[in-house]
């Protein structure tokens, strides 16, 4: 009896983890090396980085990058959602069209698509609306309609729609069939079933990969270089083309990309928390 009481009072020693200390030491050394490299390498020209960070053409490039990202994602999400709903419809023609769209836009390089829209005016001088092979109601020159900016939105947005279509389709597919039936049984018309029941629940599945897509779109916009648009990276390149300070200017561009990515990541986690409100406590019994 007294022996057991003695044991009960013996102190408990947590498991020692020497590996953690070793890893921490190694990382500390590596970090010190990185800091010393940055501070003591004159070629990095941190003074120039600071000087160019808020430079006017960099700012304008940043703005264009943000505009392109927002608009291309808007096109991608709206068109992608429409494609996903077409893909899941009863109408075989709509299903086929949506599948063909995804096949075409996912199956060709985005660079090709950007250039295609940019050079469309060369092969097709006018866009017209009318009866095929018949009278025209309306006709405008393509180079009025398709500026480099609209070519960029078309190229990036239409390509994005193909990826978003798959993401939204998976999200809609994850919603239990009983949800749709319950909504139908209440007398909801098909559009209302989607808007009020299916899409809000699919959103929780759709948001994380969409945030991912937005972050990659942010960096994909730098491809507009090929059609001569001065986005963030292109603006940095234009400057180092003149002064040959490649590294400092690449650091400037990277800093801005990191800032934007950080903001997006923050927005993503806020949105996810908002959508997850309804499962504060999952697992009430059946």
């Amino acid at each position: 009896m007294s022996a057991v009481e003695e044991h009960a009072n013996e102190p408990i020693v947590p498991l020692r983890r020497p590996g953690r200390w070793a890893a921490a030491a190694v990382l500390a050394v590596l970090a010190a090396m990185a800091v010393s490299f940055v501070v003591t390498t004159p070629a990095l020209r941190l003074d120039l980085v600071a000087g160019y960070l808020l430079e006017r053409s960099i700012m304008r490039g940043l703005l264009l990058t943000i505009e392109l990202t927002v608009l291309a994602m808007l096109v991608g999400v709206v068109l992608g959602t429409a494609l996903a709903i077409m893909r899941l419809s009863d109408n075989p023609l709509l299903r086929w069209v949506a599948a063909a769209y995804v096949w075409l836009f996912r199956g060709t390089p985005i660079l090709v698509q950007l250039l295609f829209w940019f050079f469309l005016g060369a092969v097709m001088p006018r866009i017209s609306l009318g009866v095929p092979f018949g009278p025209e109601f309306f006709s405008v020159p393509v180079n009025v309609l398709i500026t480099p900016f609209t070519a960029a939105i078309l190229g990036l947005g239409l390509n994005e729609a193909a990826y978003m279509a798959e993401i939204v389709r998976a999200g809609i597919g994850s919603v239990d069939r009983g949800q749709r039936e319950a909504a139908e049984a209440l007398g909801m018309r098909p559009a209302l079933v989607y808007r009020r029941v299916v899409l809000p629940q699919a959103a929780r599945m759709i948001v994380p990969p969409t945030a991912n897509e937005t972050i990659s779109m942010l960096k994909l916009t730098s491809l507009v270089l090929v059609i001569g648009l001065p986005d963030l990276l292109t603006s940095a390149q234009l400057i180092y083309g003149r002064n040959f300070q490649q590294i400092p200017l690449l650091i400037v561009a990277s800093i801005w990309y990191l800032v934007l990515t950080t903001l997006l990541t923050f927005a993503q986690s806020k949105l996810e928390r908002r959508l997850g409100r309804s499962d504060v406590h999952v697992g009430g019994h059946a």
Binding site: E184, L186, H285
Partner: protein
């Protein structure tokens, strides 16, 4: 026509398998009809035909004088457009075995959803009615809870309130207590008894023979896509005539 529901010769196949082989059923206003029968006999399928969640292959179903899902013209029945079918379903409430509450909405929002967005009624009036309905199923104090925060029995009671919010003329229940832990069955059956007492017309698929005996006016026994036997509840349960009914009741009682 005095009957609220009239089904005649309802047939339904899934692929090559005929699941309903000609079902006839009459339900009068205020009646409670229980559908009994072994698993796979077509009870759920029939119930889903009543609000056109399934298309018919033959026969017809009338609810409150309207042909469900079809329009008659020139000796034929033409299938309605989805939005027309949706509008017909407003008068028919349905309660599912797995509750199917909307998980992204609170209990109160679940109940308010259809009157607000199907009927477009004003928010405050709908809110008051929804709170009254939640009180009626004993869940007023859970109004702000999400389905995941409720027990199965509570979820099913919210689901009943949600269906009642559309003021349906007919309520369909598909095994409303089969997914519940045994100690939670009673609270849901109690709500259903109150509803029957208040004069609601109900078709209930159930294995709760006690409920059928106590509450139902009429019991219909189905097997293999056919109505084997139908009659007054007490009589049919106490002295079934058909051998298959006897065998089934012997197993579940």
């Amino acid at each position: 026509m005095t009957e609220l529901l009239l089904a005649r010769g309802v047939r339904k196949s899934f692929g090559k398998v005929e699941v309903l082989k000609g079902i006839d059923l009459t339900v009068h206003p205020g009646q409670v009809v229980c559908l009994l029968g072994p698993s796979g006999s077509g009870k759920s399928t029939f119930l889903r035909c009543v609000n056109h969640l399934e298309r018919l292959d033959a026969g017809e179903i009338w609810v409150d004088g309207h042909l469900v899902g079809y329009r008659r013209a020139g000796g034929k029945k033409y299938e309605m457009r989805p939005r027309e079918v949706a509008d017909q379903r407003r008068d028919i409430g349905m309660v599912f075995q797995r509750f199917n509450l909307f998980p992204h909405l609170t209990a109160l929002e679940n109940v308010m959803e259809a009157p607000r967005h199907v009927l477009g009624r004003p928010r405050e009036a709908v809110r008051q009615e929804a709170l009254d309905l939640l009180r009626r199923v004993g869940l007023e104090e859970r109004a702000g809870h999400y389905p995941a925060q409720l027990s199965g029995g509570q979820q099913q009671r919210v689901a009943i309130a949600r269906a009642l919010a559309m003021k349906p003329k007919l309520m369909l229940f598909d095994e409303p207590t089969s997914a519940l832990d045994p100690e939670l069955v009673g609270e849901v059956l109690d709500v259903m008894k109150d509803l029957a007492g208040a004069g609601m017309t109900m078709i209930v698929v159930t294995h709760e023979i006690g409920f059928a005996r106590e509450v139902a006016d009429h019991v219909v026994f189905m097997d293999d896509g056919l109505v084997v036997e139908a009659g007054p509840a007490a009589e049919l349960i106490a002295s079934p005539r058909h051998r298959r009914t006897q065998a089934f009741l012997a197993k579940v009682l």
